[in-house]
Assembly symmetry: C2
Homo-oligomer: 357 residues x 2
């Protein structure tokens, strides 16, 4: 059964998605190259959600760290909450045998840092990330980590350079605890086609979690693309003067994610602008239009210092933590979002969801 077929069957019943958006979405997915490895991704997702949604999959050999996370999960109530963190930029191929593509600037630092804090807060994280972007537990290491951090001793043993020793140990410990504890599933993408196809698989798998599921959509998703069938097969030749390109708008998947794929999940989207004059207005619009629970508004130049968290009745400025142990804006941001998610779960349990308020 092909991916396109799956999409069309489901979306024909989709309530709440405007018909013109639905047409654009169908046209987007039917023009996309088939997702490689979709069965394997589905299997991994199924196992990951199964393991975290029931306690049966817990490893009997828990490290101290895993034990702490388990306790947090119990305090939050089992089954564990699961968040899908999207991170990094998507590419838009300009040729079928791709040599050139349009890319969105994003280091993936926000998504990587947030993943670490979500794991710490007791969440299981599906980290849907751009290949080669910043990875959780690696962000405090220098670029070219191997070359900068490691050296050989006289007797040819590998050792970590003194100046990076603590950072490297923390990175290894954090990563192995998260992966071996079963709290972190990493799924890579490159193109806008792969990203949206995998996001659909994830969102449909998370539907059964209801309000315990969260989407933290920090990836920088392309707004424009070239439909696959109208794309040049071979490398575009440069001999004949300037090149004119017409790019089609990528349909807004947020409405179908919210209305159909995972309607009860707690949804956080991001709005990045370079012009502060239009940022909050556009963030407000996104909140209403796509029925997000939260929109995080950030400006390109100051995004690592502060962000504005916008909900239907709040506008909260979150600034970089002054605690030197957490020298970033993600720690207080995730603290706030976890709190709001808890309130949302409680409301959902009593039948009063944020959406209906």
């Amino acid at each position: 059964m092909s991916f396109q077929a799956t999409f069309q069957m489901d979306s024909s019943n989709g309530p709440g998605v405007p018909p013109e958006t639905l047409n654009d979405i169908i046209s987007f997915f039917s023009s996309a190259p088939p997702l490689r490895d979709d069965l394997n991704i589905s299997r991994k997702l199924h196992e990951f959600i199964e393991r975290n949604f029931s306690s049966s999959g817990m490893s009997p050999l828990l490290s101290y760290f895993s034990f702490c996370i388990l306790i947090k999960s119990i305090c939050n109530g089992y089954p564990r909450r699961i968040v899908c963190v999207t991170s990094g930029g998507t590419t838009v191929p300009l040729e079928q045998r791709c040599v050139r593509y349009i890319d969105n600037f994003s280091s993936g630092l926000r998504g990587a840092a947030s993943t670490e804090y979500f794991v710490k807060a007791g969440y299981a994280v599906i980290f849907l990330h751009r290949r080669g972007s910043c990875q959780p537990y690696c962000r405090l290491l220098p670029d070219d980590s191997f070359l900068e951090c490691l050296e050989l001793t006289r007797d040819s043993n590998v050792q970590v350079h003194q100046t990076h020793c603590q950072a490297v140990k923390n990175a290894i410990r954090g990563y192995h605890d998260a992966v071996e504890g079963g709290f972190l599933l990493k799924l890579p993408f490159t193109t806008i086609f792969e990203y949206l196809q995998i996001l659909q698989l994830v969102a449909k798998s998370m539907k059964s979690l209801g309000s315990l599921g969260m989407f933290y959509l920090a990836a920088a998703v392309s707004d424009f693309y070239v439909p696959w069938e109208s794309m040049a097969e071979h490398k575009i030749q440069s001999a004949s003067g300037p090149m004119d390109m017409r790019l089609t708008q990528v349909p807004k998947m947020l409405s179908v994610l919210r209305n159909e794929w995972s309607p009860m999940a707690f949804c956080i989207s991001f709005k990045l602008e370079t012009d502060s004059n239009i940022l909050l207005k556009k963030a407000d619009m996104a909140l209403r239009k796509y029925k997000m629970n939260v929109v995080v508004a950030n400006e390109l130049l100051t995004r690592m210092e502060e962000v504005t968290v916008i909900t239907s009745n709040e506008r909260i400025t979150v600034r970089k933590d002054k605690n030197p142990a957490y020298d970033d804006v993600e720690k207080p941001l995730i603290d706030l979002l976890v709190e709001r998610h808890s309130a949302y779960i409680k409301e959902s349990d009593t039948g009063v969801t944020s959406e209906s308020t």
Copy 2:
């Protein structure tokens, strides 16, 4: 003194560059954002070339590896040959405060592998590479090296996972020997503007090397760009239907590199196509048009298996080495190019250059 000013002064005297190309080049550089850190790059280049062009800068404490390279250099005759290897793809920003850009697909694997073999052959290498692309001595390590290769022992020491132990040791040894021996200078770029500005600095610095200098231009350079002054300042908004773009051709810098910046250097350019029917024809054209000494023709799908080396009187297919110690096409390719470079130096010394044959 600004970079643009430098370019205009020199190029006004440029012999052999067609006037229309010269105009395009002047317009490209004058529209480029100023290169940050140009003084620092110039200083590094000066020191690197000085150290390798005279034997005075050699460290008195040589490792066995450095000693072997020294012997090779002596066999090749001092001063040491210097090659500028360019590697990875350049980006074309679509907005001044850049959120979106066009990128060229290139992992940088070819440039990284070639750098290692050039160092082994006794060359000093200026590795002009795309930030984040594949680095020399790292290509045999898994992605996410830290996460995959390292683990903590029970007493919290870092150790390399058994399966990767030898690869990691080789990588560290190779890298440290090359850097500490002074045979490797790494200069990063991201945009097409940075790439061509730094290439100009490198080429002018290498002019004094005459035929001992080599350019191995493996970077995937954008053919089209948006001139800085006609670029949107802020993020392009997606609200208003499809986006039309007009891209200007990037002027061919090979002619000015060959005719003016470094006229005596041994120049190797690369031609990548996805369509094998036009590949060799286009490679031949590039050889004649830009007076390259060698063009390496490679096809997207088979480029890691074989390439065709084209000179004015030869067409040699180079295939992946069958020696399991060098499971790549770069080893025989660099062997061949070093041999041709030696012949070129000899011809230059006797006044008969390849260009005049």
